[in-house]
């Protein structure tokens, strides 16, 4: 793919602490290494304390704004079912969604002040997204022996959606640059997990 033609708008979303920012950084690093212009905007701050978080990534020269408008995302990488539903209005018609099946229960639901049924969220995504990849986060964690690689597992699934605009080698290089060496093999496995 000619780098000058590449224009991708990607959203990563989840709950504070799930590793969305590192995943966003890996995509950005991979893009930068290929001289693809990249801009991001993300939630940093108070909302990180267990709140809903998102990153908007714009790859390519076609746009100026770091934030995208509704219906502009080529790809949504959802770390959490409910958060993915929350961001769905940003998806382009025909865009791809990669979502982790594992919910993060909010404290408000635990103390009985609100209800949250993650299965409903997955059903909603199935009904409304044609290009949907559901990542079984529990199985991935069991296979890989770590729940902390969820972000890289999701990136791998995103690669295979074809909407990331990058290939596996690009991301592997980015992981090598950004992640401590002792976790390299584990992350490479995580990246390949959905293959």
């Amino acid at each position: 793919m000619c780098k000058n033609d590449l224009n991708k708008s990607i959203i990563l979303c989840g709950v504070g602490g799930q590793g969305t920012i590192l995943a966003s950084r890996l995509i950005a690093t991979a893009a930068m290494d290929k001289d693809i212009p990249i801009r991001t905007a993300e939630t940093i701050g108070m909302a990180q304390r267990g709140g809903s978080v998102f990153s908007h990534l714009r790859l390519g020269e076609g746009t100026n704004s770091p934030l995208m408008g509704k219906g502009e995302a080529d790809l949504i990488i959802g770390f959490e079912p409910g958060e993915t539903v929350r961001q769905l209005p940003f998806l382009k018609k025909g865009g791809a969604v990669v979502v982790s099946s594992r919910p993060v229960m909010p404290v408000s639901a635990m103390i009985g002040k609100a209800s949250y049924d993650a299965a409903q969220m997955i059903e909603y995504l199935k009904a409304n997204v044609t290009r949907l990849t559901i990542v079984d986060a529990d199985r991935a964690a069991a296979d890989l022996g770590s729940a902390k690689t969820l972000n890289v597992v999701l990136l791998g699934a995103a690669l295979r959606s074809g909407e990331l605009g990058l290939d596996e080698a690009d991301l592997e290089n980015a992981i090598r640059e950004k992640v401590p060496e002792k976790f390299l093999e584990l992350n490479k496995k995580a990246l390949a997990w959905s293959r």
Binding site: R39, A41, G45, K93
Partner: protein
């Protein structure tokens, strides 16, 4: 030169270093914090950097440096500018010898602030020129220009960015340290007629400032970042009624809204004015922009600064251009703008639909109820234990819990519900006194964090002691400035430059003020904490409890708690009373279970479990050594 993928605040910091900044001071506050942290991290070795105890102190330190001919940067968030406004208002009358940039991060939304105040308006009020960057890459260049400008005109200047620039990321071409400008300075030269502010000097300098700012309108009119783009009719010859209208309308915008505007136009050919220096306003450029226009839509966030300036220009020069924006209801008066808001406003204004992507939302059915996720105190946060101890100790009594600014504001959430008021840094201590003087039968508590105590809690405490208040001051000492990402403060015994220094003792400060009841307790010892609160709160006058336990982000857990399902009676007390994110319901939906990936082993739940079904935790009892910027998240 080399390329780096930088956060806006990192780009601003590297730009300041490239401009030869000699001294940087500031107080943490979202979204400004990373500027000073990056300076400290990337310091070539010759820059003095400090986390000041508050913004006023930082402003004064920076001013002193600039009096010597040095280049100084002071960083803060918008509400921090309120604290620093006293020195700044006067400093503008005195001016500087070197260069001085006042970096203020504004927060439309607000995403993590108390107000939606606009530093551009503060620029007008204080007469200090304002630079307003639109992107990360531009911010890197613009801060260097701001320093040039400040040095040339001997005035402090504002560099105000908003969250989307401060916290956006972009690949930026930056200078190598060898390419940095070196600012050598003469030193302070005594001259009372210049440095000592007296009314006679003020009136003289006031006139000079007004004269200079009038000149700056022209200077800024030719500053290339103030620009007119997308001349109508240049891309395609307009045809039809709508196209004719396109020739007679324009959009004036600023900051990241300029980017939203460019992306929203999508084929709609409208003349655009981008204002990079909202004060002093580039009048000549604005006149050129409005030439031949009937209407202008101002797209901006926070105050209608450009809108008012253009309305003024029209009045001044007798132009019949209709200026629209926030004041005419075309742009929301509050909140952050989005692509949708900007696109909608442009569509309404131009009467023309842009080439928008085919949207999902029209086709999307109503989703199921989405989870509500207000920010919560972390699992194992010692603040939870402190609040819970006070709550238990004061059960059944008439109380008010005055909160303050920091992570502990989150004590307001259910189930703790321990923050009745929150206003601004340090205010809880004063508010508790006011309530107490009016309601002597209320047990008045003020909760303040350790960093906030040093920033602005001491004066309030002196006031309480002197004016015979009856209240309990609760200092939540987690040995860091947690909310903004773990900056050091006077109580931590280290500086941002890495020096180990003598700690300022909160106990000794309180005793020096005159308090005789000052008790320090580990909040993770629940029983002792409750007893301490009961005993201390019963004393007359001003008394203090210091809850000391390190933030979980600066310590390593020693153990994790676990629930013995055979013992758990599913009473739900741990979940219902503590609201700890690590305590979840087991798959049976009744018994408690610990999410070990979140649990820090603080043992609070173990201590309150009526059947001792939870065990395995091991609380930390010492504050671990911490590195600035390491661990935890930035807030």
């Amino acid at each position: 030169m080399h390329k780096e993928f930088l956060m806006g605040n990192e780009a601003i910091a590297l730009g300041a270093l490239a401009a030869g900044v000699n001294l940087v001071a500031g107080y943490p506050g979202t979204p400004s914090t990373e500027v000073l942290e990056t300076i400290a991290k990337r310091n070539p070795g010759n820059v003095y950097v400090e986390w000041s105890i508050n913004e006023k102190a930082g402003m004064e330190v920076a001013a002193g440096a600039a009096y010597t001919g040095a280049r100084a940067l002071v960083t803060m968030k918008q509400v921090g500018l309120n604290v620093a406004s006293d020195p700044l208002m006067s400093l503008e009358y005195i001016g500087v010898k070197g260069g001085m940039v006042v970096l203020v991060a504004d927060d439309p939304g607000p995403i993590s602030s108390q107000t939606e105040q606009d530093t551009r308006t503060f620029g007008m009020f204080s007469k200090v020129p304002v630079f307003d960057p639109a992107s990360v890459a531009e911010a890197y260049e613009m801060i260097q220009e701001a320093f040039e400008f400040s040095s040339k005109y001997k005035t402090p200047v504002f560099f105000r960015a908003t969250t989307r620039v401060d916290h956006g990321y972009e690949a930026v071409e930056v200078k190598d340290p060898e390419e940095y400008y070196v600012n050598s300075y003469e030193g302070f030269v005594k001259d009372p007629s210049r440095w000592v502010i007296f009314p006679r000097l003020s009136v003289k300098n006031h006139a000079l400032i007004e004269k200079r700012n009038a000149e700056l309108k022209d200077v800024f009119s030719s500053y290339p970042r103030n620009q007119i783009v997308a001349e109508p009719g240049t891309a395609a010859k307009p045809e039809g009624a709508q196209a004719q209208r396109a020739c007679r309308i324009g959009i004036a915008t600023q900051g990241v809204n300029f980017m939203y505007t460019l992306d929203s136009l999508r084929g709609r050919n409208v003349r655009v004015l981008r204002v990079a220096t909202p004060f002093p306003f580039p009048e000549k450029l604005a006149l050129e922009f409005m030439e031949g226009l009937d209407e202008v839509l101002c797209i901006e966030e926070l105050d209608p600064v450009i809108e008012r300036a253009l309305t003024y220009v029209c009045g001044k020069y007798g132009l019949s251009v209709k200026i629209r924006g926030k004041l005419t209801g075309d742009i929301p008066l509050s909140g952050e703008n989005s692509m949708e808001i900007v696109d909608k406003a442009i569509t309404a204004f131009t009467g023309e639909q842009g080439e928008r992507p085919e949207q999902m939302p029209d086709a999307l059915p109503q989703p199921p109820a989405l989870p509500v996720r207000p920010p919560v105190l972390c699992a194992g946060c010692p603040h939870r234990a402190s609040f819970y101890a006070v709550k238990c100790a004061m059960k059944g009594l008439k109380t008010i819990y005055c909160g303050d600014i920091g992570c502990y504001t989150l004590g307001n959430a259910a189930p703790l519900d321990m923050c009745d008021t929150c206003l601004c840094m340090g205010a809880g201590i004063g508010i508790a006194q006011g309530v107490m003087h009016m309601e002597p039968d209320t047990k008045c508590f003020a909760f303040v964090g350790d960093s906030t105590f040093f920033a602005s809690g001491i004066t309030g405490t002196v006031n309480a002691f002197y004016n015979q208040a009856d209240m309990t001051l609760v200092v939540l000492d987690n040995s860091t400035t947690a909310m903004t990402g773990h900056q050091p403060h006077p109580g931590t015994g280290r500086t941002v430059m890495g020096q180990a220094v003598e700690k300022v003792s909160i106990e000794r400060v309180l005793r020096a003020i005159g308090l005789t009841v000052v008790e320090t307790v580990d909040p993770l010892d629940h029983k002792l904490s409750v007893e301490t609160v009961k005993r201390v709160a019963a004393e007359p006058g001003v008394k203090a409890i210091i809850f000391r336990s390190p933030c979980i982000a600066v310590t390593k857990p020693k153990g994790r708690s676990g629930v013995d399902a055979a013992k758990c009676i599913a009473c739900g007390k741990c979940i219902r009373e503590l609201g700890c994110p690590a305590i979840i319901l087991d798959s049976d939906g009744k018994k408690a279970k610990i999410d070990t990936s979140l649990c820090t082993g603080c043992t609070l739940c173990e201590q309150i479990c009526p059947v001792k079904a939870i065990s395995g935790g091991a609380k930390n009892d010492t504050a671990a050594g911490t590195d600035p910027g390491k661990g935890g998240c930035h807030v």
